[in-house]
Each structure stands twice: as structure tokens, then as C-alpha cells.
Symmetry: C2
Subunit: 180 residues, 2 copies
Amino acid sequence: MRVVGDRVGVSAPALYHYFDSKDALVRRVVEMAFRRFGEYLSRAADEHPCGSLERVWALGRAYIRFAMENQASFRVLFSLQRDVPRAVEDLPEGGGYALLRQAIVDAIEAGRMRRASPDLLAMYLWCVAHGLVTISLACRFEHGEDCAAPELPESPEELFHAFAPIVNSGLRAGEEATHD
Amino acid sequence: MRVVGDRVGVSAPALYHYFDSKDALVRRVVEMAFRRFGEYLSRAADEHPCGSLERVWALGRAYIRFAMENQASFRVLFSLQRDVPRAVEDLPEGGGYALLRQAIVDAIEAGRMRRASPDLLAMYLWCVAHGLVTISLACRFEHGEDCAAPELPESPEELFHAFAPIVNSGLRAGEEATHD
DNA sequence: TCGGGATCTTAACGCTGTAAAGGTCATCAA
DNA sequence: TTGATGACCTTTACAGCGTTAAGATCCCGA
């Protein structure tokens, strides 16, 4: 708080005139970050027609781009350190979930995606993108000859792109249940 | 540190006889958690024959089960708060990556999985499982009538199981590149 | 019997977030 | 014009944190 106060030119206790606590201040910052996050997503979606698979992919790419370009924000947004998990509905912009879900609904209706539950598909895509990002932020990979995964692309964006064949097979395949 | 000291019956500064800093103590705890994590994975793998798709799935399930049964550990293991990302190779048990990769190599050789880069496939599966877990830990979903995603299973384990058709299509499909 | 290391203590330091008390100034009613 | 009010800021202080410093106790080998 003292540092924040310095940055804006007041003493630390003065900040308590505007925020109840440090937590409240952080929450405010997070809220602003979520709004920027939502803009990333909607701008990405707007560039592709409703019902297209490309629109869904663009959302994934935007998700990853936001996380990489706003790492500090992203860490706070989806921090695992919070006491109680955040309710998705309470997020500004619905956390982008509604946007993704609708893009999927449209793609299904357009026949570009398998007729599965939109929520299931949305959750699946969210998991792929979110996992990719959180792993990238939490772990470091040595790229080179003698390393764990030499063939992998270095950047999360490229890695996401490399997933495309695998993921698309899942999204477009028929409806047969192939487990067990 | 004072609380930890109380728990083990000494004063806080006494802990500094055994650990250089609080961070060093936490690192030690994390290391122990990773070892337990490795046990979860190898026990799961041992229950299924090499080369089977089931073995790969079992690793995913074990990943999720560990995260859910050891939430505090998992939060620390893959915390996004650390200054510098953790090198995967430095992890005890290689963070389980080597185990997953080998299971995939075997499955490919046995013809149960598409002939793609094992690292790519491993990374993909890791992302799905990790994303699923981190989202579950960070966000809360209201399940019921008027909610964001009413059709989704409640537990991460069930959700992972529900992903099976989608994921399997990607893992088993032919080698054609279907992007763009 | 003595010295030294292992193990512990208490006291204290500098850092946090935050409460309490009070100062200054613009605004507005009497 | 005056006095009150509220917005906005200050300094001071407190309890908590991780950590250091200094010293006490005890065990063990020479």
C-alpha cells in the first residue's frame, strides 16, 4: 500500500479513503483486467462470422494472447490462492464463457461442429487453452537437444496452433461415443 | 513461521536451524508433494498394460484425483505466483511428464494412437487435465436451472470422463492436418 | 574436565496492512 | 461573514510478519 500510495502521490492510509482494504483495491484491479480480457475476446470474435469454426479458434487464440500480454493480470484473475473460488457468473463479461458458448452453439447449428452439449464443448476448449497458458506460466521448458520436449514449439501461441489437428478432430468428429 | 513452530513445538527462529528461509521450507514441502504426486501417477499407470489407451487415460485421471485430494499441495506445486517459472526437468519424477510421454510412445507403437509427436500429444493431454483442474479450483459453477452451464457434470472427475469422446477422437484420428 | 557444536530460547529489527486522530480546504446554510 | 460539514490528506501508532543477533542449555569426543 505504501508503494501504491507513492506511485499516485499520497500516503498509504490515504488510499483507505477510496478502498476499504488492500483486498478491495486488488479486486478493483482484477475487475478492470477482466474487462480488458472481455475486449480481447469480443474483438477476436468479431473478426470471424458467426457459425464458423474460425470464430471459435479465434477466441482460443485471444485467450492465450491476453494471458501472455497481461501475465500479471492473468495470474491474479485465475489465481489458485484465493480462499473461495470465484463464481463464473459474477465475472464481468461472464468471464468470456458466454461468448465462447454462443460461438459454439452457432457452429453446431451451422454444422461445423459435432452435435454435443455446447457447455461440454466450451468447457473442453476452455480447459485446453487455460491449461496451455497456466502450464506455460508455471513451468519452464528447456528447448534444445537434450531436453524434455525438444520437438515442441516454444511459444504458447505456436503450441496452441500445433494442437489444431488434434482438437479439431474432437470438435468435428461424429457423435459416436468412443470411450472404453 | 511462528505457527509452524508452534505446530512442531519450537519457537519460530528455531526453524531457521533447519531451513534457510520460509521459502526454503516451502520448497521442501513442495518437493515432498511432488513425490506423492509421482506415486499417484505411477500407481495409476501400473494398473494398465503398456501401449494401451487406458494407461494414458489412467494417468489423466490420477492427475485430477491428486489435484482434488491434495488441493493445498497442488496450488503450491503449480502456483502462478512464483517469480521464475519452474523448470520441468528439475521436478522430482520429472513432474510426471516422462511417464505420460512414455505411455504415449507405447500407445503409438501399439497403434492405439495417431502417429503424431509424442511431446505434442503429451502436452495436449497435460493441458486438458491441467486446465480442467485449475479452472475447477479457481472458479465455481452454479449448478441448477438458471446457471451458466447446467448440463455439465459437477465433479472434475466426471467432467474429465465426459471429455472422453472429444479427446479420443483427437488422439485416435488419422494423421491428416485439418486446420484452416 | 574442558571445548565445541547442535539445539533451543528471548529480544529486537524492518517490513507489512491498517486504525486513530487530527489538519486543511472547499462548499453551503444562516 | 460566519460556522458547520464533509472530502481529502497527513502523521503516528499498532499488531502481525519473516528474520537476525545474542545467549542459554545440553550432549559428546579428546
